[in-house]
């Protein structure tokens, strides 16, 4: 019996969160040989996200103030590490990600063919493909990241991903803060972790607002590319 932790970072998602948790629970109940726990990390919401999540029976972590997506997800990794979970899945609290893909994300982990699995919306090009401006940014990450780690990753910004125990242990210690997704790929990739992608279908967000506003996309690109560059020159402990 493998234990799976589903980490859902949530900031002011009171309108969706219960629905998202219930859909995740429904999807994970059908998994064979897996006991799943749903964890909502309430990132200092100002609405009643925490109460809404509690009614579903999910474990809720209440951060005392807003840390941003990176700090919230890392808190989930620390929980997974401390409670000795075998696998962790990260899924957005806004309903963009379809929990019925969870079994596809974890199967490479169970087979031992990957340490991290990213749900990519670009492999089969189905569903919501993001705005054209964002697609350009995502394409830049595809070139840069693939060149650095030598593994082709098409959807570096996807927040729908699965990790095994070794990846959890590393990310509980060091997970990027501000816009963590592309950087986390580098952190794991440079240490020789095997990363693979599986096609998923994403929807447009159902509520709430993106952590990346349209005005700050240039700042976002600059910040993340700098962080990726710094990562390349950091001392890495190969696994």
């Amino acid at each position: 019996m493998n234990r799976l932790l589903v980490i859902i970072p949530a900031y002011n998602e009171a309108s969706n969160i219960a629905d998202v948790v219930l859909r995740v629970q429904k999807a994970t109940d059908t998994l064979s040989n897996i006991r799943a726990t749903v964890l909502v990390v309430n990132d200092g919401s100002t609405d009643n996200t925490s109460d809404c999540a509690c009614t579903t029976g999910a474990v809720v972590l209440d951060l005392p103030y807003n840390l941003g997506i990176g700090g919230a997800v890392q808190c989930g990794f620390r929980y997974a590490r401390d409670k000795k979970f075998d696998m962790a899945i990260q899924i957005d609290g806004d309903g963009q990600h379809d929990p019925s893909f969870i079994h596809k994300l974890i199967s490479p982990l169970q087979e031992g063919t990957a340490d991290m699995v990213i749900g990519s919306r670009f492999l089969n090009r189905e569903g919501f493909q993001s705005t054209w401006l964002r697609r350009i940014g995502i394409r830049i990450f595809e070139w840069v990241n693939s060149a650095i780690i030598g593994q082709r990753i098409t959807d570096n910004t996807s927040g729908f991903r699965a990790y095994n125990k070794q990846a959890i242990a590393l990310l509980a210690e060091e997970y990027p803060s501000d816009y963590p997704e592309p950087e986390a790929v580098i952190v794991l990739g440079l240490r020789g972790f095997k990363i693979c992608e599986t096609p998923v279908v994403m929807r447009e967000r159902q509520g709430g607002t993106s952590s990346i506003g349209s005005m700050s996309s240039v700042y976002y690109m600059a910040k993340v590319l700098l962080a990726i560059g710094v990562n390349v020159f950091k001392k890495q402990n190969q696994r």
Partner: protein, 131 residues
């Protein structure tokens, strides 16, 4: 006349620099005394103040140093040194803020984890006392 004039100006800037530096040193020491500033963060300020005083009073040394660095107007070197210290201070603070932010994040995460653990224990305790 112009020579006398520049002489007076330099004298004046010396006084201003000494008084300013003394004021900053006094202010920093007062802040430490009131426990509003930790010694480790005051050190750079005090060093800056002392260097400024030494350079202000010791005119000959300032002139020599200015000549060595190719600064034509010696008192301008005072501003350069002060600016350099200001820059150093800001970098120092950026480093301090970064490390505080990181520790703050870990602390918040620990609080959330402990709170969840405490809630769980409380619930179990309640259940047991009901039975």
């Amino acid at each position: 006349m112009p020579e006398l004039n520049t002489g007076v100006e330099i004298f004046r800037i010396q006084i201003i620099a000494v008084v300013g530096s003394l004021f900053i040193i006094g202010f920093i020491i007062e802040l430490i005394r009131r426990k509003k500033l930790q010694e480790r963060y005051a050190l750079l300020w005090l060093v800056a103040g002392i260097v400024m005083i030494v350079l202000s009073i010791w005119r000959n040394g300032l002139d020599k140093l200015a000549h060595l660095l190719g600064v034509g107007y010696a008192p301008a070197l005072l501003f350069l040194v002060a600016l350099g210290f200001g820059l150093l201070m800001m970098i120092h603070f950026s480093v301090v803020i970064s490390s505080l932010t990181e520790r703050n994040k870990i602390l918040a995460q620990e609080v959330a984890l402990l709170k969840a653990e405490l809630n769980k224990i409380n619930d179990e305790f309640k259940k047991r006392s009901v039975n």
